[in-house]
Symmetry: C2
Subunit: 166 residues, 2 copies
Amino acid sequence: MAKEIERKFLVADDGWKAGVGTTSKFLQAYIATGEDRSIRVRIIDGERARLTIKLGRDLLVRDEFEYDIPVADAEELMQAAIGIVLEKSRHRVDYRGFTFEVDEFAGFYHGLIVAEVEMRSTEDRPDLPAWLGREVTGDKRYSNMAMATNEDLSAELGHGLSNPPL
Amino acid sequence: MAKEIERKFLVADDGWKAGVGTTSKFLQAYIATGEDRSIRVRIIDGERARLTIKLGRDLLVRDEFEYDIPVADAEELMQAAIGIVLEKSRHRVDYRGFTFEVDEFAGFYHGLIVAEVEMRSTEDRPDLPAWLGREVTGDKRYSNMAMATNEDLSAELGHGLSNPPL
């Protein structure tokens, strides 16, 4: 079990593109959700898959349990997804000792770009690159779980946005 | 992914005790449930643990995905159980080519004994030993998920029954 401590931001401009280290393609879906928990399936670059359980109401710090599973299992589990399967490219951008993960959505949320930085403790104060926009840590509308499973939200954010919402 | 095909029975008398092969002690809890799915954590004999996802509305045949996880993870996940943690001894009794699993509950459901037989196909017709009572396949009251998470049911079946309900 790991603690997940992260902050989340919208992205103001394309400045991040110059700093991309690695990129992975994610398919991501939820097979169970609750107010204080989610069970997520991810297929990474079409060749690896993981099952992740997140527990806890705190959007900044949560318990996270993660297990490798066969890709074939993940594909079957995605057939039983609650809501939609999210598609995104995750770009890793190192900036002053921290790695920012820039999630560029495709498919239903095409046009939406969100950046997360994972911290080692809640006391960490990462320097923020200039291309970050408004912080949305704790804004449930930008949780991937809500984006996948919440129909109202999909109507608000989805269907090919050309710019991230402000 | 495996298909789970099983029938479930109450137990009429102690005849099964003579045929017990192996016995395991289970702690079992649910971390997410839905009409057509459950995510279960089990600790077996205090030394192994498994995460199991079951999908499908059909109580006779369901898709089952099962993964070994660390016991420490299972213990943490059980802290977040929905409802109660079930305690039972699972006795395996071979009978004419099929294995009957006799679940003898302890703790909250002390006194309740239920037997299941797992089949390879829905066409299998296992011979039924004389110690089996009424068949309860498909009776949601005897699903472990309902027993763990349904408060009404706990009141009906739980608190130290001395005999299985008829």
